[in-house]
C-alpha cells in the first residue's frame, strides 16, 4: 500500500510536472478549440446580412453586368473618330447596353499628355461624344448616356512615350446606375 502510495505520489507529481512543463502548450491547445466556435460566431454574424444581400443578389443575377465587361475604346493622336479596329470593342459595349436596358453609363474621354490642357479637355469631350453618337446610332437611348472629359488629367500610364500615350488616348465606360 505504502509502496503503491509512493508510486501514486510519484505518478501524480510526474503528471503535475509534465503538465506544468507543457503549460504553455497546454494553454495553446486548450485555446485552440475556441477558434472552432469562433467561425461559427462569424458565420452567425453575417447571417443577417444575406437577408439584406439576397434581394441585391437577385438584381445582380438579373443584370449580371460589371464595369469590367465594357471595353475601353482607344483613339489616334489628336483624333476623335472611332478607328476601325475599335469598332468591335465598341459594338460589344453597345450590345451589353442593349441587352441590359436599365443600365445607365457615363463615358469618360481622355487624352495623352501631349497638347495643351485646354485643347485636350475639348478633345476628350469630343472622344466621349463620338462614342455616345455610336451608341445612339446603335439604338441606345441618349438619356442613358452621360459624358465627361478628363482631358489629360487622368492617365492610366505615366510614361512619356507612344506606348503610354496610346493607352491614355481612350474612352472609358462607367456604370452610373444599374
Amino acid at each position: 500500500m505504502y509502496k503503491k502510495g509512493n508510486v501514486a505520489v510519484v505518478f501524480v507529481l510526474g503528471l503535475l510536472l509534465t503538465l506544468a512543463s507543457f503549460n504553455g502548450c497546454a494553454k495553446k491547445k486548450a485555446e485552440t478549440p475556441p477558434p472552432k466556435p469562433a467561425p461559427v460566431v462569424q458565420e452567425k454574424k453575417p447571417a443577417p446580412k444575406p437577408q439584406v444581400k439576397e434581394p441585391e443578389r437577385k438584381i445582380v443575377e438579373k443584370v449580371a453586368i460589371s464595369e469590367s465587361q465594357f471595353n475601353t475604346v482607344y483613339f489616334d493622336f489628336d483624333k476623335s473618330d472611332i478607328k476601325s479596329d475599335q469598332r468591335s470593342n465598341l459594338s460589344n459595349n453597345a450590345r451589353l447596353l442593349s441587352d441590359n436596358s436599365t443600365i445607365r453609363i457615363r463615358i469618360e474621354g481622355h487624352c495623352d499628355e501631349r497638347g495643351t490642357d485646354e485643347y485636350n479637355m475639348a478633345l476628350g469631350q469630343r472622344r466621349a461624344d463620338a462614342i455616345k453618337q455610336y451608341l445612339i446610332d446603335y439604338g441606345i437611348s441618349s438619356s442613358r448616356i452621360s459624358t465627361i472629359s478628363y482631358g489629360e488629367e487622368r492617365p492610366v500610364s505615366s510614361g512619356h512615350n507612344e506606348s503610354s500615350w496610346s493607352q491614355n488616348r481612350r474612352g472609358e465606360f462607367k456604370i452610373t446606375s444599374q
Binding site: D78, R106, R114, G115, T116, D117, E118, Y119, M121, A122, L123, Q125, R126, D129, S146, I148, S149, E153, H160
Partner: protein, 447 residues
C-alpha cells in the same frame, strides 16, 4: 536628314537662327525661299541690357529694411530683362572722380539714388540719366515693416516704366496650378517665385486661371459634381462663385482686359466646343463661334476688340483671330502641317505667343498679327506649354518638363534668360496678375 532640315522641310519655309546676335541660315535658303511665306527665327540671344547703378539706400536706423529694399531692387532690375545692375570695381572705389563719373566708368547709363526719410520708414528715390545728368524721376515711397520687398518692387516697376513705356510687373503676383495627387489647386506666388501660398482647398481639379483686369478675381475651370464649371474666386476674400450654371464642358476662361465684367470661355453647352462670352454673373451669354471643329482657349487683344483662339477647323489645331463679336474669323498661323495651340495676346498688342509642336516636342513661339514673322523662343529642351505674358510685355511665363515633372519657368519675351520659378515638378498653367499701381506706398499719391 538631320533634325533641323527635317524641321525646315516640315514648315516648307526657310529657317534662320538668331543666335547670340548672329543670324545663321541653317540650310538652303535658295531652295526653300521659293516657297517662303513666313520668316521663322529661333532666338537664343537677348536684347542689349542697360547698365544701371544703385547708390545710397544707407540707413541710420537698425531695422535693416532699407538694405532689404536695396538688395530686392537689384534683384528685380536684373530680373526684369531690361537692365544689368553694375558694381563699382575696386579700382574705382578710391577714385577722386565724382559719383556720376565713377558709375559711368562702371558702364552704368542710369543711376538709382536712394535716401532714407521719415525715420527710416520711407525712402526717396531719384533716377538719373548719367549721360545727360537729367533726373528721370523722383519719388518718395513708404517702407512697410513686414514687406520691404513690396517697396522695392514698386520702385523697380517705376524705373522699368521709364524705359519700357509701360510700368513693370514686379509688384504683382502669379497664379498657377499645383497638383497634389489626384487634386489640383490654385496657388499664388510673387513674380520672383517667392512667398508661395495656396488659394483653393477644394479637393477637385482646378485648371486654367485667368485674372480680372482689376486684379481682384481669378476665373478658372473646376470639376464640380462631374461637370466642368467656370468658377470665380475673389483673391482677397477667397469667396467663390460658379459662373456657368449650365451642364457641359466649361473651360479656358479669359477675362476681358478692358472690362472686368466680361469673360470669354469655351463651352460645349450647345453640343460642341465653341467660344462664348458672358458677364461675371453668368448673364448676357453670347456665342461667338459656330463650327463643328473644336474652338477653344480664347485670349483677348489688349484693347478688348479682338479674340485669338485655337480651332481645329482646318483639320489640326491652329491659331485664329476674330472680332470680339465673333465676326471676321481668319487663320493667323500659316497653313502648314503643324499643331499650334494655346495663344496668348501680348500686352502691347503686336504679338501672339503660342505653342507649336516641333520635332523636339512642344515649344513656345511668337507670331506677329500679319502672320508672316514667327519666332521660336524655346527649342530642343523638353516640352514647353501655356505661354502667358507679363503685364509689361517683357516676360513670358510657361510650363516645361525640361527639369523633369512640370515646372514653371519665365523668360524674356525674346526667349533669353530662361529661369525656373518652381522646382517641385508639380506646378503648371501660370497667369500673371495685373501690376499694382503702388499708390498705396507712394507718398505723393497719399498727400
Amino acid at each position: 536628314m538631320n533634325k533641323n532640315s527635317c524641321f525646315q522641310k516640315k514648315y516648307s519655309f526657310y529657317l534662320h537662327v538668331l543666335f547670340f546676335y548672329y543670324i545663321i541660315l541653317v540650310s538652303s535658303v535658295f531652295e526653300a525661299s521659293a516657297q517662303s511665306e513666313v520668316t521663322l527665327s529661333i532666338r537664343a540671344g537677348g536684347s542689349k541690357l542697360i547698365g544701371i547703378g544703385i547708390e545710397g539706400f544707407n540707413t541710420t536706423g537698425t531695422s535693416g529694411l532699407i538694405s532689404e529694399v536695396k538688395s530686392t531692387l537689384a534683384d528685380d532690375l536684373n530680373y526684369c530683362g531690361l537692365f544689368q545692375v553694375k558694381e563699382i570695381p575696386d579700382s574705382l572705389q578710391s577714385a577722386s572722380q565724382s559719383m556720376f563719373e565713377i558709375w559711368k566708368a562702371a558702364n552704368a547709363s542710369c543711376l538709382i539714388y536712394g535716401i532714407e526719410t521719415q525715420n527710416s520708414t520711407a525712402v526717396s528715390v531719384k533716377a538719373i540719366d548719367l549721360k545727360t545728368a537729367v533726373t528721370l524721376f523722383e519719388e518718395e515711397y513708404l517702407i512697410i515693416a513686414d514687406r520691404p520687398w513690396y517697396t522695392a518692387h514698386v520702385i523697380a516697376d517705376d524705373i522699368i516704366g521709364i524705359y519700357n513705356g509701360v510700368r513693370g510687373s514686379l509688384a504683382s503676383q502669379i497664379a498657377f496650378v499645383r497638383s497634389n495627387g489626384e487634386y489640383k489647386d490654385l496657388f499664388l506666388m510673387d513674380p520672383d517665385g517667392r512667398r508661395r501660398r495656396q488659394m483653393t482647398f477644394s479637393r477637385t481639379l482646378n485648371l486654367s486661371p485667368s485674372w480680372s483686369s482689376n486684379g481682384e478675381s481669378i476665373a478658372y475651370s473646376s470639376l464640380n459634381n462631374e461637370n466642368w464649371a467656370i468658377v470665380m474666386i475673389n483673391v482677397n476674400t477667397g469667396q467663390t462663385l460658379d459662373i456657368s450654371q449650365w451642364p457641359g464642358l466649361n473651360t479656358s476662361p479669359s477675362w476681358n482686359p478692358t472690362n472686368p465684367d466680361i469673360i470669354a470661355f469655351t463651352s460645349t453647352r450647345d453640343g460642341n466646343a465653341e467660344i462664348y462670352t458672358c458677364r461675371r454673373n453668368g448673364k448676357d451669354l453670347r456665342r461667338l463661334t459656330n463650327h463643328f471643329g473644336i474652338d477653344s482657349s480664347p485670349t483677348w487683344s489688349p484693347d478688348g476688340s479682338k479674340i485669338a483662339f485655337t480651332s481645329d477647323r482646318s483639320g489640326m489645331p491652329k491659331v485664329y483671330i476674330m472680332n470680339s463679336d465673333g465676326s471676321g474669323i481668319r487663320r493667323l498661323t500659316p497653313s502648314l502641317d503643324t499643331y499650334e495651340d494655346s495663344p496668348c495676346w501680348s500686352p502691347r498688342g503686336n504679338l501672339i505667343a503660342f505653342v507649336i509642336l516641333s520635332d523636339y516636342g512642344f515649344d513656345i513661339a511668337t507670331i506677329n498679327l500679319n502672320g508672316d514673322e514667327m519666332i521660336m523662343l524655346t527649342y530642343g529642351s523638353g516640352s514647353n506649354e501655356n505661354p502667358k505674358w507679363s503685364p509689361d510685355g517683357l516676360k513670358i511665363l510657361f510650363t516645361s518638363n525640361r527639369l523633369g515633372g512640370k515646372n514653371l519657368f519665365v523668360m524674356n519675351w525674346d526667349g533669353s534668360d530662361i529661369r525656373p520659378l518652381t522646382k517641385d515638378g508639380n506646378s503648371l498653367s501660370p497667369a500673371w496678375a495685373p501690376t499694382s499701381s503702388g499708390d498705396d506706398i507712394r507718398v505723393s499719391s497719399r498727400r
